[in-house]
Symmetry: none
Subunit: 192 residues, 4 copies
DNA sequence: GATGAATGAGCGTTCATTCAT
DNA sequence: GATGAATGAACGCTCATTCAT
């Protein structure tokens, strides 16, 4: 048996992290971060408690990894869809992608919105999240500027507020929330 | 000396509850419900740990009291402003009242939104909150129906989503969030 | 209104003590001494927590009063029935009186036997109980000596063990325990 | 290094349970179940408070383990000694075995009798203890029936009451109680 | 790498006791 | 005398984290 190559090791580590992260994601969304113990995560992931500390320095670091990893994906949607010269088509594409993404990532968003509301936990991410968020603000502002809005940044924040509000209400009451209608409504708002 | 009269006791009890509730409100909003210990609340309120249990049966009951008490106020705004025959004026009044209320009750809203995102905590209030929320939905639907919307309930939920999204973003980034602009924007949306 | 005479005060105090003691007796027998709080006793007795401390120095003193008061009665049965020259008639009378007494005082005996088994609680009474018990031993020994037993003290302790054993088993399983048979059995043992 | 084998873990677990159980046995017998804190047990056993919860789910479960484990042994004496066809020899053997067992297991019996007197604690064991006790009743009844007693079950309960009474008095006053005499006295009673 | 026994600080809660009224 | 608000120590229990194996 030859020792694994460095590449294999990295891959192995990434896989293990994924297993643990997925278990944590599920539990955090059901019970909240504070109420979920490392023991429960270990059991859900099918590993020992101690092993979690081989892959993450602490419970907080596990949360950080979980959040930051997925946030890249989330904020990336705007980046990819809008590109440098955002058009109505790319704007519509972005909205569509977001609505799809949200439905797949309900558990994550539940944790994410919960964290946003807790300053003491938010401190763990504040810098990264705010940097990414303001980056997206700028990108979208270009679109709203092109569309002729007087205060494109405020419109951006207004637009994002609408999205956040929709997603939050959808998460809370997924069965009854008229998500499809909300989507077409927002499209109408901006694309006539 | 004779003991205090019943009236004195009731007044005293209400005052003490207020002191404890205020301390809890502050800490819950900063740290979250689960991360705030009864010890911290007692210290913040300037009373002993044990005393809290003279006024509240448990930490959860304290949260319930805190939330349900203020939620009545919050949902009451729509009821009072809209009345039975909602007009554009009363609708505008309601929005204005909400924006005022939110700025005064940031700490509460922070806790409130946090709770909405945690199923395990939400269980404590689900029934009451949902009942009140659906009540407000109906009331607002009347307005949107009068305004000619084809699907007034969906519009209500869309409108409330916008408000929630605005407040959530405001709470997260109060210093930079363009709250006044968001307010005039939403007014324009519905009142021309 | 003239102030009460000293006699009235003493009577009043005795009555209040009785009320509290009766409440405590009931609760101690159901839940045990340690698991019964002063609050519960106060509620059961229909008085305030504070008042209990007007009549008893501490929870332990309340227990002491409860036990020692009734123990006098219990040990007194032997004294009264046997007299100085115990006969078969007085011995039979004593047994009969004890069996009657036990059925009325089940709650007390439950507490009493429980206490006997806890050295740390027993310390509160050890001196008094042991003094009274050894006093009864001597008195009964006279009877067994008269009956011709070689070792009257051992027989006394054996006889008392039988009574204790019967009462303990009766208390544990009152519905099914054949108390009447046990009584006639012990009478047969000693009176042929 | 690889983790311990399952066999090692089981052995280790049994040993640790024993250490904790022994400490609890000592303290429960001295102070009673309710007055003995988990902290004291941990200190006595030389382990941390938290560790006790690795081996027992709760303080009550620790008591249950302690009691039920030893009760099997205690009730087993009758079963083993008497067999299916009890004779005078096996009856004498049983009494002898019980007297030996009692002297070794004073601490246990102290807890056991204490529990029998507290309905709220007794609830934890009622089913198991009563089942075993009635089982022993039946077995002994065979012996008393063979001996010609008219009501063998009542005689059984009377006989067991005597044993219980002796042991209880012995436990309370071990130094002075004439245990050997009590033993020969009860043997004389039944075996002439 | 992987395990789970072990720790100890801290949690929510209870309660005997005190004391201002 | 009588009340019950107030205290603070202690309780049973949990849990993030460490470490011998």
């Amino acid at each position: 048996m030859s020792p694994r190559t460095e590449e294999q090791l990295i891959k192995h580590k990434a896989e293990k992290r994924k297993v643990i992260t997925q278990a944590a994601l599920k539990l955090f969304s059901e019970e909240g971060f504070q109420s979920t113990s490392i023991s429960k995560i270990a059991k859900e992931a099918g590993v020992s408690k101690g092993l979690i500390y081989t892959y993450f320095e602490s419970k907080e670091e596990l949360l950080r990894f979980l959040i930051l990893d997925t946030i890249d994906e989330m904020f990336g949607i705007a980046e990819v869809s809008l590109g440098i010269n955002p058009t109505d088509e790319s704007f519509e594409k972005m909205i569509s992608d977001y609505f799809d993404w949200v439905q797949i990532n309900r558990a994550f968003l539940q944790i994410y919105f919960g964290i946003l509301m807790q300053p003491s936990v938010m401190k763990l991410f504040e810098k990264e999240i705010m940097a990414k968020a303001y980056n997206v603000f700028e990108r979208m502002s270009v679109y709203f500027k092109n569309k002729g809005f007087e205060d494109p940044l405020s419109e951006t924040r207004f637009f994002i507020s609408i999205l956040d509000g929709i997603y939050m209400n959808y998460i809370m009451d997924s069965e009854n929330y008229p998500l499809a209608k909300a989507k077409s409504r927002i499209l109408t708002m901006y694309l006539k």
